[in-house]
Each structure stands twice: as structure tokens, then as C-alpha cells.
């Protein structure tokens, strides 16, 4: 009896450690992962009348919000200090005047600003010509795609005919870009090293987007053809990867078949010993 008690006492001592071991093993609620504290701009403006709170709502649906580009990244100021959030001495810029908008956006989008300024749109800056926000929106900034060139938007200022021709010329390249990006993302999800190809695609997309501000049809066609050629090279690499995946599946089918055959043989031989 005493022997059993000692054994049990030892077991209990050992298993009193189990909760500790468990703690290290258990995975718990995602609710613990706290949201990043919101910046003071959002905290204040969200509670203000529509005219002041609307930018927040629009921004939440923008490509900027998607990429963690917040209010202070464009408007400056101190997003952590409510009292000095809009203090010019803390870099607050406020809302730019219309002629200053390209330079305002161009602090980040340097190449795009250059393309814009060289275009017919940019040359008309300050003389009734459109600025960045005319087409891209100011808070609900949309991802730059061909969809931005559309009859409703362009017809606000001029005829859509020329824009329609340019858009049609770029449509095929856009389709190829999107398809390549989708395939690349599929490979990325399974651990393929897509870094190099992603960089190439990024560069090609930038070249392509620079054409968006160009209104010279011949240049657009020439550049689009070059970009398509490069995209097809990326597609060729992805096709090789696809083929490798298929080859692995064939090897897998063989390996599985061999194992099933061994199982069957073992089963049959075992039966002979009954």
C-alpha cells in the first residue's frame, strides 16, 4: 500500500507539471493580437461633422490604406500627439493648392510626376488642366489601372475618342500583366521564390503605368509591345515551374503505387502463413 502511495505521489508531482507544459504548447485566440493603435488624426476626424470625417471614410477604401499609407504620410504633422498633430513646426502641410498637387503627390510618385508633367495634362497645369486628383481621386485613391481611362472621367474635360484608342492599345498588355501577377501569386503561396520575377514585374508595371499619361499613340504601341515581350519571358519561366509541378505529381503517383504494391504483397505473403 505504502509503495503504491509513493508511486502515486511521484506521478502527481510529475503531472503537476502538465499545465506548465500545456501553456507552452497551446495556441490561443487571435483576439490577443491587438490592432495597431489608431493615429490621432483618425481619432479626432472620425467624430467630426461629415465634411471633416468623410476623408477618413474615403481613405479606408483606398490603395493608400491598403498599403498602410496614412494621413500624416501625405499631410505631415504628428500623428501621435493630438495637440500638435496639425502644427506646421511638426511638418504639417495641410491641403495643397491646386497647382501644388503634382508636387505634393510627386514626393513619393517621382516617376509618375515626371511623366505627368511631360504629358498634355501636365503641360496644362494651372491653365485648367487636370491634376493627379482629377482622375485618381484625392482620398479614395484608386489603384492605377486602365479602368481609370473611361468615357465618364475623360468626357468631363474633352472628347473620349483619342483616349479610347490609347486604352484599346494597352488593353492586351494590361490583361497579360494581371494574368502574370495572378500566376506569380499562386506560386508565391506555395513557397516558390518569386522575388526576382516579382521585381521584374514591378518594373514592367511601372513602365506600363508611365504610358498612362502619354497621349502619343505610336509611343504607346511601341512601349506596350516591348512590355508584352518581357511579360512573355516571365510567363515562360512560370510555365517551366508548372511543368516541374506536373513532373512531381507523376513521380508521386509512382511512389504511391510502389507503396500500395508493397502493402498488397505483404498482405498476400502474410495470408500464406495462415
Amino acid at each position: 500500500m505504502r509503495y503504491r502511495e509513493i508511486i502515486m505521489a511521484n506521478f502527481m508531482r510529475l503531472f503537476s507539471l502538465i499545465p506548465l507544459i500545456l501553456i507552452a504548447l497551446l495556441l490561443t485566440r487571435p483576439g490577443l493580437a491587438q490592432e495597431t493603435a489608431e493615429i490621432v488624426c483618425i481619432q479626432c476626424h472620425s467624430g467630426l461633422p461629415e465634411i471633416y470625417s468623410q476623408p477618413i471614410r474615403l481613405w479606408r477604401g483606398s490603395i493608400h490604406a491598403e498599403n498602410d499609407i496614412a494621413c500624416h504620410d501625405c499631410h505631415g504633422g504628428d500623428p501621435q500627439d493630438a495637440a500638435n498633430a496639425m502644427n506646421p513646426q511638426r511638418g504639417f502641410l495641410g491641403v495643397p493648392q491646386e497647382p501644388d498637387i503634382p508636387a505634393f503627390c510627386g514626393r513619393c510618385h517621382v516617376g509618375v510626376m515626371r511623366d505627368y508633367l511631360a504629358s498634355a495634362h501636365g503641360l496644362a497645369l494651372g491653365r485648367g488642366g487636370p491634376t493627379c486628383v482629377t482622375c485618381h481621386g484625392n482620398h479614395q485613391v484608386l489603384k492605377a489601372t486602365l479602368e481609370l481611362i473611361n468615357e465618364k472621367s475623360c468626357s468631363r474635360c474633352h472628347s473620349y475618342e483619342r483616349a479610347r484608342t490609347i486604352r484599346a492599345a494597352m488593353q492586351e498588355t494590361e490583361g497579360l500583366l494581371v494574368a502574370t501577377e495572378t500566376r506569380l501569386n499562386d506560386f508565391k503561396k506555395i513557397g516558390s521564390n518569386t522575388e526576382k520575377l516579382e521585381k521584374e514585374l514591378f518594373s514592367l508595371r511601372n513602365s506600363f503605368h508611365s504610358l498612362f499619361h502619354n497621349v502619343n499613340l505610336e509611343t504607346v504601341n511601341k512601349q506596350a509591345a516591348r512590355i508584352q515581350l518581357e511579360l512573355k519571358k516571365i510567363q515562360a519561366v512560370l510555365t517551366e515551374w508548372d511543368q516541374a509541378v506536373q513532373r512531381r505529381k507523376i513521380a508521386g503517383a509512382l511512389a504511391v503505387s510502389v507503396m500500395l504494391l508493397i502493402a498488397l504483397l505483404a498482405h498476400l505473403v502474410r495470408k500464406t502463413y495462415d
Binding site: 503531472f15 502538465i18 507544459i21 501553456i23 503517383a253 504511391v256 502493402a263 505483404a266
Partner: protein, 367 residues
């Protein structure tokens, strides 16, 4: 006389190899009604050996440094010849091993093989189960992906629910306030050295106990016999008139192992990403919290249980109590009857517990 026979004779003369074969293989008799579930142990031995082998191969290229870990895994997957195969073999293999271990434990529970005199077999097996969970968790961090980083952050954070020592324990587990390079170092050491050694030692103890107690007779598949009274001194359970381990049961083991490998290879080659959410291939970023961090499938029930309780300590305590109860089951369930149909209360609890675990897991997956 063939060359082979000459070699065997030579060895036999020195270490009595024929006697070992006679005693441990051809003369080692097992119950006539032994079933395929008894092969789960052999499957697990093979699975563990394959994990060790693939793990060693991964060690050749893996760099346990927070700045280089993700890149080294990516290099293994994309540049090292057959690196993708070895890495996926190791990752898929860990999941398959946990599955086989669970099936082994369930079959032991159902057949009442944990009962006297096999309490120690059950205990060592239960500790092995905890160690396998531990090695899976520590291995999870090593690729240093978003999934690794945040799953480990959440897992280690659970310890903070313990009164008084919680915050210190979290810091001890992480090697700092947050998950970072010191955590990787600790988890790497645990994953490749400490836990494998403990598992190997426990496997040795488990096999030693099996050898000393003898293989249990399945409670079904043979004419009913009266249950013998409990022995008051050590007694090896032998099986006169049983089937020899070699070649009879060794062939059944081989069949089961081949079937296991067929299933394993099917997952490995046709759906290797079954166990990988998309965050598994994005490098760790301490500044971006992924929207939904879900644990591995075998932790989903624990995860969901913790979500159900407003107080984390209650959830943890409840799970600790359940695990402790399960570990001590042979000392609580002392009845001698082993046939599941003659243990209706046990069978009802077994089925309810299993359904609860599966239900919580599914809930956790979709929550």
C-alpha cells in the same frame, strides 16, 4: 555452404545471433487475435525515424538566424536539389505523425490496453504525445514566416494568464519581451536537440515497458474467457500457441507501414499545401499582424476552447485538468473489463469526447 551462412555462423559463434532471432523474432509469440491497430507503434517508429532523417538533411542548409532563416528555407525549397521534397517531407510528416499518434492512443483507449499492469506504458505514451506536440510547436517557428512568428507570439502569450509568474514565464519562453531572435535560438535548440533526445529516451522506455509487460491481448476477436484476477507479483503476459512476430506479424507491420507511406506520399505529392495557410510563405514581419492566425489542426480544439471562455486562465486550467485526467486515466479507471461494449459508460465518454474534440476543431477552423 553459402557465403552468407558462413558469415551468420561466424557472428552466431560470437554473439549467439540465432538465439536472439529465435527469442525476439520467430519465437516471440503474439496473441492469435491481434489486429492491425497493433501496428500503429511500428508506424510511429518509422514516422519518427523519417522525421529525424529529413530533419538532419534540412539542418545542412537551414540557418537558425532571424535574418536568414526564412531565406534559407526558401533556398531549400527552390535551389537545393530535391530540397522542396525534403522540406515538405518533414512538414507533412510531422502532421502525419501526430495523426498516427492520435490513432494509436485512441485504439489503446478503446481496447483498454492502458489498464493494469500497463499504466506505465500509457504514461510514457502520454508524455510522448505531449513531447510530439512540443516538437511540432517549436518547429513551427523555425521557417520564420508570418505564420511562424504570430502563431508563436500568440502561443507564448498564453502563459501570461498564469497568476504571478505569467509575465516572467512569457519572457523566459521568448528570451525577451517579444518574440525575436532569442526565441528562434531557444526553439531551435529545443526542436533539434532537447525534445528529440527526450522523445528517443521515452520511446526506449515505452518499448522496454512493452517488452517487460508483454503485448496485451485484444479484448475482442476470440471466444470469451473469464478475466483473470490481478497478479500480486510481476508476471509477463505471454501467448502460448500465438502467432510468431516474424514472419507473421512483421508482414502485417510491413503492410500497415506501406499503407501509411502510401497515404503520406499521396498528400506529399498531390496536396502538400494541405497543412499550409498562405501566411506560411510570407517572411515574418513583427509590424504587420495577419488577420486570422489559426493554429495547426491538432491544436484547433484547444484554440476554440480558449476562445469560449472570457478568462484565459479558466480555459487553460480546464484544458490542463482534462489532460491531467487523461494522463491519469489508468489510475482512475481501475475496472478489469476491457471490452468496449461491456464498458458502456466509458464508450459513451469516449465517443462524446472524440466528437467534442472534432466539433471544437471544426468550429475553431471556421471561427
Amino acid at each position: 555452404m553459402t557465403l552468407l551462412k558462413k558469415i551468420v555462423d561466424w557472428i552466431d559463434l560470437r554473439i549467439g545471433v540465432r538465439e536472439i532471432v529465435r527469442k525476439e523474432l520467430t519465437g516471440y509469440l503474439l496473441p492469435r487475435n491481434i489486429n492491425a491497430w497493433y501496428s500503429m507503434g511500428s508506424i510511429l517508429l518509422v514516422a519518427f525515424a523519417l522525421q529525424v532523417l529529413s530533419g538532419i538533411l534540412l539542418l545542412i542548409y537551414y540557418v537558425p538566424d532571424a535574418d536568414k532563416a526564412f531565406k534559407s528555407v526558401s533556398q531549400i525549397m527552390n535551389e537545393v536539389p530535391f530540397g522542396w521534397l525534403i522540406r515538405m517531407f518533414h512538414a507533412v510528416g510531422s502532421n502525419m505523425m501526430v495523426l498516427a499518434l492520435l490513432l494509436h492512443m485512441l485504439s489503446v483507449l478503446l481496447m483498454g490496453s492502458y489498464k493494469r499492469p500497463r499504466e506505465l506504458n500509457w504514461l510514457t505514451g502520454f508524455i510522448l504525445f505531449s513531447l510530439v506536440q512540443g516538437i511540432s510547436l517549436t518547429g513551427y517557428l523555425l521557417p520564420w514566416s508570418q505564420l511562424s512568428f504570430w502563431a508563436t507570439t500568440v502561443a507564448t502569450n498564453s502563459a501570461s494568464a498564469i497568476p504571478l509568474i505569467g509575465p516572467y514565464l512569457v519572457e523566459f519562453l521568448r528570451g525577451g519581451v517579444l518574440v525575436g531572435p532569442p526565441t528562434l535560438g531557444r526553439f531551435f535548440a529545443l526542436h533539434v536537440a532537447v525534445i528529440p533526445l527526450l522523445i528517443a529516451a521515452l520511446i526506449g522506455a515505452h518499448l522496454f515497458l512493452l517488452k517487460r509487460t508483454g503485448v496485451s491481448t485484444p479484448p475482442f476477436g476470440q471466444p470469451e474467457t473469464p478475466i483473470p484476477p490481478p497478479a500480486d507479483s510481476y508476471r509477463y503476459e505471454d501467448h502460448p500457441g500465438g502467432i510468431p512476430f516474424f514472419p507473421n506479424y512483421a508482414l502485417e507491420d510491413l503492410r500497415s507501414i506501406a499503407l501509411y507511406l502510401a497515404c503520406f506520399l499521396a498528400v506529399l505529392f498531390f496536396d502538400p499545401y494541405l497543412f499550409f495557410p498562405k501566411d506560411a510563405f510570407i517572411p515574418a514581419n513583427p509590424f504587420v499582424t495577419p488577420a486570422h492566425i489559426k493554429p495547426e489542426w491538432y491544436f484547433l480544439a484547444n484554440y476554440q476552447t480558449l476562445k469560449l471562455f472570457p478568462n484565459e486562465l479558466i480555459g487553460l486550467s480546464l484544458q490542463g485538468a482534462a489532460m491531467t485526467f487523461l494522463a491519469l486515466l489508468p489510475f482512475i479507471d481501475r475496472g478489469r473489463q476491457r471490452h468496449p461494449l461491456k464498458r458502456p459508460l466509458f464508450l459513451a465518454c469516449f465517443i462524446a469526447g472524440l466528437l467534442l474534440w472534432i466539433g471544437l476543431g471544426i468550429w475553431g477552423h471556421y471561427s
